[in-house]
Assembly symmetry: C2
Homo-oligomer: 483 residues x 2
């Protein structure tokens, strides 16, 4: 056997769905941070004492406490002997008992297909109806999945059918989480970006979407429009008017709407409230309510609960033929979430009720998360917008600030010589000088010629104040250095 | 908007990777069972009192108890307040404490990328070295995944690159778990079945593999050979000689070996032992040990631990270029298992040591599972092989019996008129007459003209005896009816 000749798996022989994947720039920034961390440990002198990570979406790893009720019930379900514990509230034990009864064979050790396919979808549908003030929801249109990431990829791979030279287009309203770009590459579609209207506080802009759509139609067949509401990373909550306009456009242009609504509980700005695309769609009435295809999802990894590590989400399918749902169900073997992720999803949608021993703590913990986020968001808006050079729109939900930053032409040129996006260049300099780690806007998509950073708002208020001030101060120096 | 005109997601517009998926016949048998269950509840008279499910792979739902140590540590990690409990063994709390320290941010709520990418692969590599008597294993070649199902699909989708008219072939040694067939369809490959040698106790048969390979090469490009050892559903443990011959063939014919070794701990027949493909490969020395590409996996859903509901597995890659591994790592965002699944994987590979408070219970519980399986396997061999008509080979591991059943020509014809595989027809009749649910061999693949059923061996011994006798008796009647 000649060396190498026989190998099946070689870089040149991999499918483009894997070789085309682009590692987000934050990964390289994290490698840079790892080197700095080692240097700090070795006593190398730096203009800062420690790294300050403001990039993560891992809520609990950056200090957010899990909701006690959720973890107590999870622990009892994992080790049912705890039903005998005198140290756990009665409603925790009662809930665990009734969940265990609902599970297939009464255990989290099984795949729990019955719970995933029948019992939990029923409960999810009831939750959606309650949330949307009675708009009907059917369990037959709900699929439980192991978090959103993999499900997004699977769903897209079903829809993407066209091949070269005229591939399926997937439109994304940017900035948007990078997982969509990954999914689009992996399923062999063409990514079509349409920028949100930053001037208008990151509102959906149908004229911009239509412009991108018509331009894209010259080289691909756009079929899907992906939107996050509330936005990640923008924190913007879309208005009823914007949602209506987008639904109208989807109807006119035959687009399937794919809406990330996982931060529906995480709206904290006074006067703002979450409206589901589905509710607006049904209030618009026929033909929209009967024709426009909509897939919406919610996940336990959202800002309030932050249980990403446990994996659990639901997807609701609107105006999708029964036959299509059957095909998706046949594929569902690849979707089964871990039993504990499903339980947490169930608990999130059905929290303790007034009068239950855990009710007060549950409500307080949830409120505390939102209250802290509201304070953090206000602080970010205040500090970042002082003077000029950095511009942060009002943050109404989720957990990030996504300010626009001015980058002088000389810095843009310097970035180009290093083969970097200008905002990546900025993030690297910021890390080098301050120890602060933020994610570059280019990982999320942004209007051409604009530059952003995403700052995750999880540091305690006093520390966040220092962080934001450091970013602001560093930016001033950066402007001076490159102007 | 004209009705239907605008819909993106319609049955006719789905990718063939989803429309081509075939639902295993067991699903229809389960629908039949659901109807019977309702009838029984309504008091409809039947020749039996209750349904007896002998098809499931959900160990815990059919009575197997989880390993106490695993669940205790899991519960503490879910709700760390339990570290203060006086009712849990010290080593449980100690292990939970050290795991929490290892986790990113000390919590199961995060994605735990650091634990998944660095800490746990290190520990897995050490386990593999210990298992294989010192054959070196590198953490860089280990990927942690959320169970095997989805990872099989992802890996295949990287390897499958050819398109019509000459697609990539994936060979499977049948009978094999239906998840491989699903993955092959979903990634657009051609399935090439090569039957194991039933006469020789389900041994790998290189002549048969070679024959299938050459035949397949007339219409596709076979690249991968999938094998389960110990076999599911066969329960056969492959000999060193068979493994060597297959490795030789892989070298000669440029095939990547994809080996399911998740039941490596579940060998219970006296005189038999598990040998990993990797160990044999390295003992064969160069050029094999340097050239033959091998992917092997192990999972917490195995027969002994049965924690399928928690989702956790590792994949080891042998002789795969670093560059390919980097591509796979870039994709790994889609693989992250739930934190609790990773913890259970960690615990499975690093059980309590002699002297630890939980050691005795852990070892006893594990031994009890294997001892019971050994008794159940012997009982199945004994009862099924009495007289003629049903032939069950020796079962050395895993948890199923996969006997061959004679089906008379008249029954085969009757099945054909109903559009059913003959063994599906048999399973449906068996269910109707006895209430026993078993899986048809055709779901797993079998040599042409042979028929099998898969009986999962989890009922208590006395009940299993009754079940096996009922199957045997029913088969006699079936033979009489159709001869």
């Amino acid at each position: 056997m000649a060396a190498g000749q026989g190998k099946v798996l070689t870089p040149g022989r991999l499918h483009r769905r894997i070789t085309d994947l682009k590692v987000p720039a934050i990964e390289d920034i994290l490698k840079q941070a790892a080197v700095i961390k080692q240097e700090l440990a070795l006593g190398v002198e730096k203009p800062f004492q420690e790294l300050i990570p403001c990039y993560s979406e891992d809520h609990h790893t950056v200090g957010q406490k899990p909701i006690t009720f959720i973890r107590q019930v999870a622990a009892v379900c994992a080790y049912p002997e705890l039903l005998n514990s005198v140290n756990l509230p009665e409603d925790v034990k009662q809930r665990a008992r009734s969940l265990l009864e609902e599970l297939d064979g009464g255990t989290i050790g099984g795949y729990n297909i019955g719970y995933a396919m029948r019992s939990l979808p029923n409960k999810v549908a009831k939750y959606i109806e309650r949330r949307d003030g009675g708009v009907p929801a059917s369990p037959n249109n709900v699929i439980i999945s192991w978090g959103s990431t993999r499900a997004i990829l699977s769903l897209m791979s079903f829809i993407v059918t066209e091949e070269d030279p005229r591939r399926t287009g997937v439109m994304i309203c940017v900035p948007l989480h990078p997982v969509y770009t990954d999914a689009i590459v992996q399923c062999g579609a063409v990514k079509v970006e349409c920028p949100l209207d930053e001037e208008n506080g990151w509102a959906l802009d149908v004229r911009e979407i239509r412009r991108s759509l018509y331009k894209a139609r010259t080289h691909c067949t756009p079929k899907v429009l992906c939107i996050a509401n509330p936005g990640n990373p923008t924190g913007h909550v879309q208005s009823r008017k914007c949602i209506e306009e987008v639904i109208q456009l989807a109807a006119d242009e035959n687009l399937l709407l794919f809406v990330d609504e996982m931060n529906q509980d995480a709206v904290f700005a006074p006067g703002f409230q979450f409206r589901s695309f589905k509710k607006v769609l049904f209030e618009m009435g026929p033909p929209y309510s009967e024709e426009v295809q909509l897939i919406s999802f919610h996940s336990i990894s959202n800002t309030v609960f932050g249980e990403g590590g446990l994996r659990g989400a639901y997807f609701e399918f609107i105006n999708i033929d029964e036959e299509v749902m059957e095909c998706i169900y046949a594929n569902v073997f690849f979707w089964h979430p871990p039993a504990l992720g499903m339980i947490v999803l169930d608990l999130m949608l059905h929290p303790p009720m007034p009068g239950d021993p855990s009710h007060y703590t549950f409500v307080s913990e949830k409120k505390a998360v939102l209250h802290k986020l509201a304070m953090q968001a206000r602080l970010a808006e205040e500090i970042l917008n002082i003077g000029s050079g950095i511009y942060c729109k009002a943050i109404q939900g989720a957990m990030h600030a996504f300010p626009r930053i001015e980058i002088p032409d000389n810095a843009v040129k310097m970035a180009q010589t290093q083969g970097l996006e200008p905002d990546v260049f900025f993030c690297r300099q910021l890390l080098d000088k301050t120890g602060i780690i933020v994610a570059p806007g280019s990982d999320f998509g942004q209007a051409e010629g604009t530059h952003h950073i995403r700052i995750t708002l999880f540091e305690p208020l006093e520390k966040l104040k220092t962080v934001l001030t450091s970013i602001k101060d560093f930016h001033k120096t950066f402007l001076q250095e490159y102007s």
